[in-house]
């Protein structure tokens, strides 16, 4: 049976992950143990650096934060923003921003009632499933991401 690291490395080199790279949706930036950094390329030309905590890969959901590209610290400015639909999934406010989704580690911490579903175990490639969710957040207009308007 593959170790968690072996499984993570296999998912990072999977055709599904590579497809996202080839199509310009995301790029692998770095890995520090079980922490993976992936740059998400939004349709308005902006880039967001996702810090994906893949500790206990498979048994626990991935925890995602958007971080500053230089300092790799989580700042509000590093996060994409959007409308009232978007904030269903990306929470700001008084607390630290987090992704409120039943396949995100911090989302599940906020909603323990989601844990029994184990939604993050439903698809084999957890990493790409997460990145696909982030891609849709940025690309599907009805999901409400605030796109940078091109200069007139």
């Amino acid at each position: 049976m593959a170790t968690q690291l072996e499984q993570l490395l296999a998912d990072l080199s999977s055709p599904e992950f590579q497809h996202g790279v080839e199509h310009g949706f995301w790029d692998f930036v770095d890995r520090d143990g079980m922490i993976v950094y992936v740059a998400l390329h939004a349709p308005d030309g902006r880039d967001y650096l996702a810090q994906l905590d893949c500790n206990e890969y498979d048994s626990e959901p991935i925890g995602c934060k958007f971080v500053d590209r230089e300092t790799r610290t989580c700042t509000n400015e590093a996060w994409p923003t959007g409308n009232n639909v978007f904030v269903q999934w990306v929470k700001f406010g008084d607390q630290k921003p987090f992704i409120c989704w039943n396949q995100d580690r911090i989302g599940v911490e906020h909603h323990p009632e989601w844990r029994p579903q184990k939604a993050w175990t439903k698809r084999p490639n957890k990493l790409v499933t997460y990145l696909e969710f982030l891609r849709k957040l940025l690309y599907v207009p009805s999901w409400g991401y605030h796109r940078l308007q091109p200069a007139a």
């Binding site: 599904e16 199509h23 949706f25």
Partner: protein
């Protein structure tokens, strides 16, 4: 100056059109003249005009392009688009973005504008990988199958 434009699709040249063009004219003018003969809109022709790896833009002057030769090529790629239970095949300029396929499909299948904006192109099957519509269509053998569809069920977010 004589310019010959070859239409390449399905792996070979299927049609040729030529035109006489005056000095100072742009590539756009060539496209306007050969468009009716090739039965392709001029604005689509200028999306892909190449000679030996060099590509021309609509605003380029014809004489500046002529040192590559006067036999130019417009390449089109076949895409089989599925939408719900319908299917249509169409050739698109190989250097155009995938967005042109999305727009064409919405028009062809008569999809309302607001619904169209939230559909995505997927490669091979409805659950296939998403296509980035800002990327070029490119060349491939045969006809590529894509599906125009909703981007999957909305995931569970908490709206309090």
């Amino acid at each position: 100056m004589l310019v010959i434009v070859e239409l390449e699709q399905d792996g070979g040249v299927v049609k040729t059109a030529e035109c006489e063009i005056e000095e100072g004219a742009t590539v756009a003018k060539v496209a306007q003249l050969v468009g009716p003969k090739l039965e392709i809109a001029a604005e689509e022709i200028v999306m892909d005009l190449v000679v030996d790896g060099s590509s021309f833009e609509a605003h380029h002057r014809v004489e500046d392009c002529m040192h590559h030769g006067n036999r130019w090529r417009h390449r089109r790629a076949c895409v089989a688009i599925h939408f719900e239970s319908e299917e249509a095949r169409h050739h698109f300029p190989a250097s155009a973005d995938w967005a042109i396929v999305h727009h064409w499909a919405c028009k062809h299948f008569r999809v309302a504008k607001d619904i169209c904006a939230n559909l995505e192109l997927h490669e091979g099957s409805p659950d296939g990988p998403a296509i980035n519509e800002s990327k070029k269509i490119g060349h491939f053998p045969g006809c590529m199958t894509v599906w125009l569809g909703k981007p999957g069920p909305e995931p569970f977010g908490y709206s309090a």
